[in-house]
């Protein structure tokens, strides 16, 4: 198990993070949404 974590998993995490970044980047609906109004 530790061998997998030391030798293969680092590259899987790195490549996975890059792919996830491309998937998540266009989802920008929340970027310009105004904050909630203050309760009166």
């Amino acid at each position: 198990m530790d061998e997998f974590l030391m030798f293969y998993a680092p590259f899987i995490v790195l490549i996975g993070a890059i792919i996830l970044a491309f998937i998540v980047a266009p989802m920008d609906g929340a970027a310009t949404r105004p904050p909630k109004e203050k309760k009166k």
Partner: protein, 453 residues
């Protein structure tokens, strides 16, 4: 100058060069991916703001590349001049990734030139984006190859040493050493993380300074999202690094954790001070060191007392490790809360103090990178090539290293100040509001000319 003095000045000069270079190298590796993602989003959503993000980031990126080239050349030169005995030995085994790093850089530089000079030259923007693929790949693979050399210093293999002579040299075996996967992946992903948080800091700063343009809001949301993804990835790979250290460099892990006695159920020590071998004022997390080292809360972790005293790294690396981890965790929290707050429409993420926290995240992640590299390098001491060559054996005996130190320190000061001044002027003289207005005028002009035909 005695040999001890030349070793001392060689160390200081190498530390100074690496500490300065790593700032520009990190930006140089990370920013091309950020540019690529921004341009890709711009094309996909047909949103001019993201295209402009890519354009402006690319302009700033060129300045950092120029400085990185100078400092990178300095490192190459200093490796041979300051550490000739190391290069004589290691160069025979590990020259291949050193050459490949140069090749990757040329690959990046050639396509970067073409990319910059062909904005607006393609009818199909996707073709222009394709030019960025070799730039981003070249930048990342430069980091991969040079980190392989550093990994080799920590876990040398791929040769036999018989009577002081190197035989049976296998460069590929040397490249794929046990330290390589965790080191390479951690260096690359933290470069992406740091670049994202530096760009987020710039966007947050513009919002704080009164510009309420949607361009900055999109830039901030994008970079904080990317920062969150890459910082979580960095933390996971950091955990894998702990397992590598426990197996192959246990003295480095034990020194970073002030772990003196070999024992199972080992706790993790955060912060604190050291009084002899007594650890005071720490936050102790039970079983955490055993889990970090072997994924098992009861596993035995080797302590410092099992090593000869002259082969134990300086124990101050504990503070460097803590600095790196604390900033990493802080940035996961700051970016995670920002991302969640955007979706939940929380008010506090728009407050001035939170934006200042994001601004602070830029320099803080650079400090984390510095602390991480110092930890990596000091943690390998006293070895330059682990178990084979100690640092003093590798150094030059030249009597002029102190002069070189002063000259290079002056050069770095000029380059550092110069690059900051140029970048500030570049963006201050061309604010986004003006650039957007200019672009819209260009489009109107183009449409009118098109209509005349």
């Amino acid at each position: 100058m005695g040999n001890e003095e030349s070793v001392f000045f060689s160390r200081v000069l190498t530390e100074l060069t690496l500490s300065f270079h790593i700032i520009y190298a990190t930006i140089g590796v990370g920013v091309p991916l950020m540019i690529m993602i921004a341009q890709w989003v711009g094309i996909k959503k047909n949103d001019e703001h993201y295209i402009l993000l890519a354009r402006r980031w690319a302009r700033g990126f060129v300045i950092t590349v120029a400085v990185g080239v100078v400092t990178g050349t300095a490192i190459g030169m200093q490796l041979s001049l300051l550490w000739p005995n190391f290069m004589e030995l290691a160069g025979q085994v590990i020259a291949l990734p050193l050459f490949m790093e140069t090749f990757a850089f040329f690959f990046e530089a050639i396509f970067l030139g073409i990319y910059l000079y062909t904005w607006d030259r393609f009818d199909n923007q996707k073709k222009h984006l394709l030019l960025l693929v070799p730039v981003a790949l070249g930048a990342s693979f430069s980091a991969v190859f040079i980190t392989i050399v550093n990994a080799f210093m920590n876990a040398p293999q791929g040769f036999d040493l018989v009577d002081g002579e190197l035989v049976n040299i296998q460069p590929l075996v040397a490249m794929f050493n046990p330290a390589m996967p965790t080191k390479v992946a951690h260096v690359v992903i933290t470069a992406y993380m740091t670049s994202a948080f530096i760009l987020a800091a710039i966007a947050a700063f513009r919002l704080l300074k009164g510009s309420d343009h949607v361009y900055h809001k999109k830039a901030l949301f994008l970079t904080m999202k990317l920062g969150l993804i890459f910082s979580i990835g960095a933390a996971i790979i950091g955990d894998f690094s702990g397992k590598y250290l426990a197996e192959y460099q246990p003295e480095k892990l034990a020194a970073a954790e002030w772990h003196f006695e070999t024992e199972g159920e080992a706790p993790l020590m955060l912060y604190g001070i050291l009084d002899g071998q007594e650890v005071k004022y720490t936050i102790t997390i039970p079983y955490a060191l055993s889990i970090l080292a072997h994924s098992d809360p009861t596993a035995e972790v080797i302590g410092l007392n099992d090593f000869p005293e002259d082969e134990i790294p300086p124990l101050y690396i504990h503070y460097l490790f803590d600095t790196m981890v604390t900033i990493g965790v802080l940035m996961i929290m700051v970016s995670g809360l920002y991302w969640l707050g955007r979706h939940m429409r929380w008010r506090f993420i728009h407050s001035r103090w939170y934006r200042w926290l994001i601004v602070a995240g830029g320099p803080l992640t650079v400090i984390a990178i510095e602390a991480g590299w110092w930890y990596a390098e000091v943690g390998r001491q006293p070895w330059i090539l682990r178990d084979i060559m100690k640092v003093p054996e590798a150094a030059t005996t030249s009597g002029h290293v102190d002069t070189m130190l002063y000259l290079f320190a002056t050069l770095y000061l000029i380059l550092g100040v110069g690059s900051v001044v140029v970048l500030r002027r570049m963006f201050r003289n061309n604010p986004i509001e003006r650039e957007i207005a200019d672009r819209e005028a260009e489009v109107r002009e183009g449409t009118r000319k098109g209509g005349d035909h």
